[in-house]
């Protein structure tokens, strides 16, 4: 057991706070065939219900549906490429990330650990997705093979109107890189 570098009260205060914009995110475009076509080509995923109206009509889905793993893609912020390298790849300038408390305390390393997606139903063409994310838990400070760090878990809820259509729980390790031996 190591002593916490960041006061527990500061970490506890983050639970329930939004990850990303407080007002959530709205997909810039409704679910649409051009984006699905790019996806299908990129992953060579030729499930016919994603593009073929007739095959989809004959399936349990009844009409074309979006690949379920596209959930997060629909609400990704349209990037400003100017300066994106200096922002470490963040699509937009923003300095209110809850993860800043870790960066400021020297835990600048980031490693994605878990993703847990659940799908209530598949999305149909024309539907506009919104999402909101909040911090669910923050671990004790732990010694990992990469260095000292904290595991942060947040949950994103995806909706069409008021209907929840999917969720994603995501866990990331924020760590203090150890000097090479």
């Amino acid at each position: 057991m190591t002593e916490e570098t960041i006061p527990r009260a500061s970490l506890d205060a983050m639970i329930g706070r939004p990850m990303g914009p407080a007002e959530g995110s709205t997909a810039p475009d409704p679910v649409n065939l051009p984006m699905i076509r790019h996806w299908v080509a990129a992953f060579d995923d030729h499930n016919p219900v994603y593009l073929d109206e007739q095959a989809a009509a004959e399936s349990r889905h009844g009409s074309v549906v979006a690949p379920p793993a596209m959930l997060q893609t629909w609400v990704m912020a349209t990037p400003s490429l100017e300066g994106i390298r200096d922002r470490g790849g963040a699509p937009r300038a923003s300095d209110d990330s809850p993860l800043k408390i870790f960066d400021d305390a020297g835990f600048g390393g980031s490693l994605a650990v878990n993703s847990e997606l659940t799908f209530e139903r598949y999305l149909r063409l024309g539907e506009t997705l919104t999402s909101s994310s909040e911090v669910e838990s923050i671990s004790e400070q732990k010694q990992t093979r990469l260095g000292l760090g904290y595991f942060i878990t947040w949950v994103s809820t995806y909706r069409v109107g008021d209907e929840v259509v999917g969720r994603q729980r995501f866990r990331m390790l924020k760590f203090r890189p150890e000097a090479a031996p």
């Binding site: 499930n47 390298r85 993703s115």
Partner: protein, 134 residues
Amino acid sequence: MTTVGDRLPSAAYVMDTTRIVAGALASRDFMPVHHDKAYAIDHGSPDVFMNIMSTNGYCSRYLTDWAGPDAMLRSLSIRLGVPVYPGTTLRFEGEITAVDQQPGEQVVEVSFTASTEHGDHATGSASLSILADS
């Protein structure tokens, strides 16, 4: 008939820079580490590497290539391991761990791994609904 202990057909996806970049952009992820090799090397990586949305995309494809167009993916949980770099092959193996007969459908639990020459990239589980008469 779907039975606990059955193995899914394995699959192997050969990864090159084009596939990794195509996946990143199709998922609207413009992080330079997923498309710019010089930037990736500057940031301690030997090459560009696959983004997580692409990992989920390939997992979803692997599962529904097996389960068919009448299946519905209900959940997809992965633990992430080594990154996927160009010049590797992402190999999927899966096994049915539970089958729950419901009216009109089976809910099938699958445990799977996706690994490259460097080790496990993603290990996880998924739940799919498969229509009873399909």
